[in-house]
């Protein structure tokens, strides 16, 4: 049976992980490769690396990060942050990344989704959507969730799917950082409406929240950062908990 995926997200700045990490005895918690290896051993199903500086200079660092991670770990990983062109993606995939994620660049120029799907296949094109609930309607935000757009999330999600996105990484800015649970309604709406997988993100604070993301939010995968980095939810315990709730999990790690 196809399992639901648990995805730790690592924020990257200047080639280093940011945010404190205290869940394992790592000599250097800022080393994304060591952290990736530790998460892999714990049973993470996939990893996402997001470059939060997203500058032109950062793209060189990202390609070498992709190479180092691909060398070390044997599970799939996605890289995002500042990707604007077919050339950017080509370098990251050639370095060993399995997928890339685009966000603001797709909003700015939606044809980029078509170009990437045509050139590399939909399977490696993740479109990240940051969304916020404004007066009862979910809207798309860009630039790390700071900049509002007139796009409605439901319509934008359908458009990127039609343009060839292989997966949608949906981050609810309304929930992000609150540890009060994923935004289940918008996640379930997109999942029910679109034929491609939806990764739920933003708001994970407890193991119950993950169960809700899968059972009520109908998510195919759930992504989180802090609860994993700070060790409040160890991945093996989370997976055992979810499996006991009848949610299929990969347990052979």
């Amino acid at each position: 049976m196809l399992t639901k995926r648990i995805i730790p997200c690592l924020d990257i700045k200047d080639g280093r992980t940011v945010k404190g990490v205290n869940f394992v005895n790592l000599r250097d918690a800022g080393d994304p490769v060591a952290l990736a290896a530790a998460y892999t051993q714990q049973g993470a199903d996939e990893l996402v690396f997001l470059d939060i500086t997203a500058t032109v200079e950062a793209r060189d660092t990202l390609a070498s990060l992709a190479r180092e991670v691909a060398r070390e770990i044997n599970i799939p990983f996605t890289i995002g942050g500042g990707i604007r062109s077919v050339g950017d993606v080509s370098r990251l995939l050639a370095a060993g990344a399995d997928k890339i994620s685009i966000n603001s660049a797709a909003v700015k120029r939606p044809e980029l989704v078509n170009e990437l799907a045509l050139e590399f296949g939909s399977q490696c094109v993740v479109v990240a959507i940051d969304t916020n609930l404004i007066e009862g309607e979910w809207y798309v935000f860009t630039h790390g969730g700071r900049k509002p757009t007139p796009l409605k999330t439901v319509e934008w999600a359908r458009e990127v799917c039609d343009r060839g996105a292989g997966e949608i990484l949906l981050t609810s800015m309304t929930s992000d950082g609150t540890q009060a649970g994923f935004s289940l309604d918008i996640t379930a709406r997109l999942s029910g409406m679109l034929p491609i997988p939806i990764i739920a993100s933003g708001g994970a604070g407890s193991m119950q929240h993950f169960a809700e993301a899968f059972l009520e939010g109908k998510a195919d995968a759930a992504l989180a950062a802090s609860v994993f980095h700070f060790g409040s939810i160890p991945i093996p315990r989370l997976k055992a908990y979810l499996q006991a709730q009848g949610i299929p999990m990969r347990m052979d790690f």
Binding site: N74, P76, G166, A221
Partner: protein
């Protein structure tokens, strides 16, 4: 041991290279018929589209070389599909090593997303490729087309209906999943292939 990865216009050769390096093997990536023919083992990887890739294989003559290889050959993902007789992906005639047709997943059930992406179970494992891999085992899949169950099936996976997760016939082996991205089980499978 001389291990050759067939070089062609398919993506993600790098991940396969790294996975083999982790097993302390340094493969040669080549499209030279002599290099491929003289290898002890051959890997035919692939991520991409069937018709474009078959056209490339025909133009380079690799389409007639691959089916005549005598050493162990491992096809991965699109590599496996191209080793079948025909693919529905853009109506493509393939290498005909396995007399199987490659079909597109179809379902009216919204619970099944297409492509099939993620970790799924490997069931009813048989043969040397799966030695030491205990069920339930999980492997990483990314695909929209599949091979039905048949006489060459050596592992099955349920998605919409059970399909062939791996095939074996003579010296030819193939997996629909990506062993290079399938954690411990994948690494064990690659090591088993190297041990053949």
């Amino acid at each position: 041991m001389k291990l050759v990865i067939i070089k062609y216009n398919a993506g993600n050769i790098q991940s396969v290279l790294y996975a083999l390096e982790r097993l302390n093997v340094v493969p040669l990536v080549s499209d030279e018929p002599e290099e491929i023919r003289s290898a002890d083992k051959v890997i035919f990887p692939g991520v991409g589209e069937a018709s474009t890739t078959m056209r490339y294989l025909r133009n380079t003559g690799l389409h007639s070389l691959i089916p005549t290889l005598r050493q162990p050959v491992l096809g991965i993902c699109l590599g496996m599909q191209l080793m079948c007789s025909y693919s529905e992906e853009n109506d493509t005639h393939c290498l005909n090593i396995f007399d199987e047709r490659v079909r597109r997943f179809k379902t009216e059930d919204p619970a099944f997303k297409i492509p099939h992406i993620g970790w799924n179970t490997l069931e009813e494992l048989s043969g040397p490729l799966f030695q030491g891999i205990e069920e339930p085992a999980y492997a990483y899949f990314v695909h929209s087309y599949y091979v039905e169950l048949g006489p060459h099936t050596i592992a099955r996976t349920p998605y919409i209906q059970p399909f062939s997760a791996a095939l074996h016939k003579g010296n030819f082996y193939a997996t629909q999943f990506h062993p290079e991205k399938s954690g411990k089980a994948g690494a064990t499978l690659l090591q088993n292939f190297l041990n053949l």
